[in-house]
């Protein structure tokens, strides 16, 4: 039986922490929105990416 969580983590760990953070935050926030629409998803991703970029700048 494949270990889904391990394989998922292996993939995540290949990426920069900022990328991981954005992705995980998008997924965790998406869970709280029922039937998320594409526009909402876009704004969620944009918000998370911009926050991360601005954090890096500071």
């Amino acid at each position: 039986m494949r270990d889904k969580k391990k394989e998922l983590n292996d993939i995540l760990n290949k990426y920069d922490p900022a990328v991981q953070k954005v992705y995980q935050r998008v997924l965790s926030q998406e869970k709280s929105i029922k039937n998320i629409r594409k526009a909402q998803m876009k704004s969620l991703i944009d918000k998370e990416i911009m926050q991360q970029v601005q954090k890096d700048d500071n």
């Binding site: 993939i11 998320i36 991703i45 970029v53």
Partner: protein
Amino acid sequence: MIINSIEMSYFFRIYKSPKIDFSIDENKNVTVIKGDNGTGKTTMLSAFSWAFYGVVEEPLVIEKMLNKRRLYEMEEGAIESSGVKVSISDSGHTYLISRYQKFKKVSDNKSVKVGDPDFSVIDIANPSMPIMDKTFFEGIIPRDLKGFFFFDGERIDRLAKIDGRAEIKKAILDILGLTTLEKIEEAVADVQSDYNKKIKNASKNEMLKQLRQDYEDTEALIKSDKEQLFGDGTEDNKGIINRKKEAEAEIEKCKRFLKEHNAETVKNLQLQRDNLEGEKNGIKKDEERESDDIMRHVSKNFKYYLLSDRFKEVSDFLEEKRKKKELPSDIKVQFVKDLLSSGECICGQKLIEGQCYHDNIKKLLLTAGREELDNAYITMRAFVDSNEINDLTKEFYNVINNYSLKCLGFSNRIEEIDKELKDIKKRLSNDFGDLIASHEAMLEQAEQIKEDCSQKEYYYSKNIKINEDKKKNIESKIKLEEAKQGNKDMFSNAFELSVEVGRLNDEIRQLFIEITREDMDEKIKTVFANISRKEDREACLNENFELIIRNKMSKQPQILSTGERQITSLAFIGALVSYAKEKTKSDLITDFSGGDFPIVMDSAFGNLDPTHKANTAKGLPLLASQVIVIISDAQWKGTVEENLAERVYSVYNMHDGDYDGNDDEYTEFEV
């Protein structure tokens, strides 16, 4: 999720509002609804689709939802509701989902929809707070997955064909919750496109370059003008200001020479010239002051000139309206109210409520003027009547006329002074010898230089001021462009990050698809083993998402008979339901949250031979916790009934109703 009951009202073939209770018994988990072809099996499947998703199954159409018998009975123009109410239990809550469409009878054979469907979801535990979200049920079973929980025989057959691959792959993606990952993929692409646009906008370096060039050019102009004005520190360019000062010193020197001359006449002429020049300067200052005053006067009072005629026109217009009673009367609201409350008119007549005098006075309130409107009107009328506007206009012209007279006086006096100065100059140049004449020539030259320098000083100072302002303007534009440049770096970083997020999402998506396919493959094998009669064969979902049957030993794919195709598809559906059930335990990615779901099957046994029928009938109750089978009498009788009987909770019979000889227009139910 469990479906407790369904109540259909005048819904297609259904007359009145029969209710069907479904089995919630674990051991007898099958409810059978059977009937001859044409008795309304598609109507049953549509009843679920309509309640949950607001759609009906082909060939039915919403416009013809109202039951024909009911339509026949109705008066023309009467309105009736048609629809479905379903009770479901999910995650510890019991909900009543209802969706009804109103129809109006137009003729015996025709009805038209009235408004939008009425939809509501009521949580039985909290009935006073209906849930109005029309997509409520999609949170339980997404619409895309509807076909796998409420399906008909045709789809069962199609799934195991080559062209069913896309459908199978999509079902897996949907049930996995991968639609979320797809949404991320699409949204990331959109976000990237936005960032790109922003980068492009910020990248207009040409603009910044041009602005910086403009800034440099303007600075150079200011520098050059300042050098003209103040000099560059060299003897060749002392600057206009210094040259003017030198000229002024030369003028002063010449005048002093003349004023201190031994000859009384020369001295007096120079003193006389000084006085005249002093007077001339004084007149010029007065002229400037008067000019400023008159400009202020015109700006302040010009409106009276413009408005004087209009004021009168407007006032006359209002007065005419008032006379025609098109404006409120001159009786004020407050006055009428005071009369009514005092109970007595000014003429002494008693005002008693209900009597005609009281009513007449009360009617005045309708036309009585509001105080502020009256006041505004009175003020305007008084203004016009008092002739104040005309006085103000006259005063406006008086001041201007006075100014003109003063200007004429100034101009005449300056002309006289200039003439006298010219005479003095002429005498000093010609009448008192070479020395005086040469000083007079020097004075004239110095004055010309001074005049020339003054003009240039004015020109260059003005230029410098204009260019200083321009420089400030360019500075702020440069700051804005530089900020955009900063944004460009920010958006470039954001773009890079979004590309990486997209890559990560894609990798995870591929991982999940593959893992789920493997899981589904295992489950299909298990379900297939339960309902297949051939033990040497196994069903599997290959890497291309094709449902195939292969030899267990050789792993060679086998050609599927129609019956085998149907069995394989059922195995897939069973596996899908089983996967959904287990998915509640998964916390990786959610969209469809999973859970225990019923299966509603229409014509599941269509093309099966007796052995497959028997196996499918035995295996069907194992596919889901609740199974609702919609079946024809012919398919039910015999093998299916014998093999399914012990798991059946209740059987509902649908048969054609009969009224006025139109026996094919509605369905009756009996248990």
